[in-house]
Amino acid sequence: MPPLAAARPPAAARPLAATRRPIHVVVAVGMTAGLYALSLAGVTALQSATDAQLAADRAPAAGAVAQLKSTHDAMEGSLDRLASAYAKVANGYQAITDGIVGHEQALAALRQQVEAAAGSAAALSVPSFSRLPAVSGSAVTVRSQPVVNACTTASGKPC
């Protein structure tokens, strides 16, 4: 039977390269990570600049939106006041309507009285024509016929 030592080679005899990681892989990984970091930094910088520009561009719109909101609030207040005034007018109109109904009733009663009076008047016997008494209101009245300057002659005859 052969000895054990002769059957198994010693460990120190294996080559070194077979046991270490290759250096180029480490370098490649490091470079890739560095490149990625640089790209990320560049993209982040670009994104940041774009965001800043966008924020600057949107600033007037934001101001306008704020102004619009303020105006809208004011309009809402006006509408509230108008609604209140409308309600007040509607109440007044209703009161007037109630008054008109009362007046209509009074007019209907008056109409009945007038009809009754007209019927009484129609039953009376009155002359169809009556001559008014002479009115003495002339500022100037002369006793004898004055000489006139002209006449109302439709024919145009001298008077």
Partner: protein, 338 residues
């Protein structure tokens, strides 16, 4: 034309006369030299001639006759300022009198045989007879006016008649005032007459206002004398334009537009005093058509100074007219018996 002093004059007055608008046209001027009065008469006479050439229905070449030939045509015709203003005034009068004044009664007048009195140099040209009484356009109006272009369209022939004479007096007085600026001075006055329609300004020849005799259409003595200080006195009477119709009836020219027949039952004349002669004419016609039953209430409700004579010769008047009446024959007779 004649000129000379008036018998009643306390101060010199010049008087002129000629025929116009189918009746005598007279002008009395007080308080100015004869030459100035003659200039004023020339201005008035020229104005009346222009107006008659525009408004007369009895001049073949007048603007009104030309317009009447287009009656019923809704397209506007451009007319001269006189005719445009007269048509506008006639429309106002028609509205104001609720149709009692209506210039479209010409068709009814011709149906009754009225021919009018041809005046001027031209021959009268008959207007086409309207197809129906008081024709209107489809919108219900008888007159379409375009004031910017002075364009008018009439639905049926018209006769401006009395209002035309009143307007002529109004415009002639304006021309007189322009020609005689001193008319507003204290000692200057004028009286312009056209067929019984009168308009006065300023002083009369005698002390006091102008005195106007109210005519008895039957030819009797004047029943009243009226004072006129400034304004117009116009009369609608049936003493002249009355005739026998084709059916033998005695008719006159004051037709009621609502019936097409002579109106004014029981009246022979109505006189109205008003500031303006055209409206004085319009109201005298409208009141006449009320007849003896309606004229009093109507005239009093309008506050007009109106005198009217009934067929029996009775003269009646409104309170406003009584204030302007300086002499009444009835009072004179009563006082004579005392």
């Amino acid at each position: 034309m004649t000129a000379g002093p008036l018998d009643v004059a306390a101060q010199p007055a010049a008087r002129f006369e000629r025929r116009a608008m189918g009746s005598p046209l007279r002008l009395t001027v007080v308080g100015v030299p004869d030459a100035r009065a003659a200039d004023a008469w020339a201005a008035v006479s020229a104005a009346i001639e222009e107006i008659e050439q525009s408004l007369s229905r009895f001049r073949a070449t007048s603007d009104l006759v030309a317009l009447n030939t287009r009656a019923g045509d809704p397209t506007s015709a451009i007319v001269d300022p006189w005719l445009y203003a007269a048509l506008a005034a006639a429309e106002r009068a028609w509205r104001r009198t609720d149709g009692a004044f209506d210039p479209r009664v010409i068709g009814d007048l011709e149906r009754l045989g009225y021919a009018g009195a041809a005046v001027g140099s031209g021959e009268a040209r008959p207007e086409p007879a309207p197809s129906s009484r008081l024709s209107v356009f489809p919108d219900g109006r008888w007159l379409h006016r375009d004031p910017r272009r002075r364009g008018v369209a009439i639905a049926s022939p018209i006769d401006l008649g009395g209002i035309g004479k009143g307007l002529a007096l109004r415009w002639a007085l304006a021309r007189l005032t322009t020609a005689l600026p001193e008319l507003g001075e204290p000692a200057v006055g004028a009286l312009l007459e056209a067929g019984g329609d009168l308009v006065a300004r300023g002083v009369a020849p005698q002390p006091g206002p102008w005195l106007i005799g109210v005519e008895d259409p039957e030819g009797g003595p004047e029943p009243a004398v009226v004072a006129l200080e400034a304004g117009a006195v116009c009369t609608s009477s049936i003493s002249v334009h009355a005739w026998l119709a084709p059916d033998g009836r005695r008719v006159h020219h004051l037709l009621d537009p609502r019936t097409g027949e002579p109106g004014g039952d029981g009246l022979v004349a109505v006189t109205v005093a008003a500031p303006d002669p055209a409206w004085s004419e319009v109201w005298s016609k409208a009141l006449f058509l009320e007849g003896q039953r309606g004229i009093g209430p109507r005239a009093r409700s309008l506050g007009l100074a109106a005198w009217w004579m009934r067929t029996d010769g009775t003269l009646e008047m409104t309170p406003a007219a009584r204030e302007r009446t300086v002499w009444l024959a009835a009072d004179g007779e009563a006082e004579a018996r005392c």
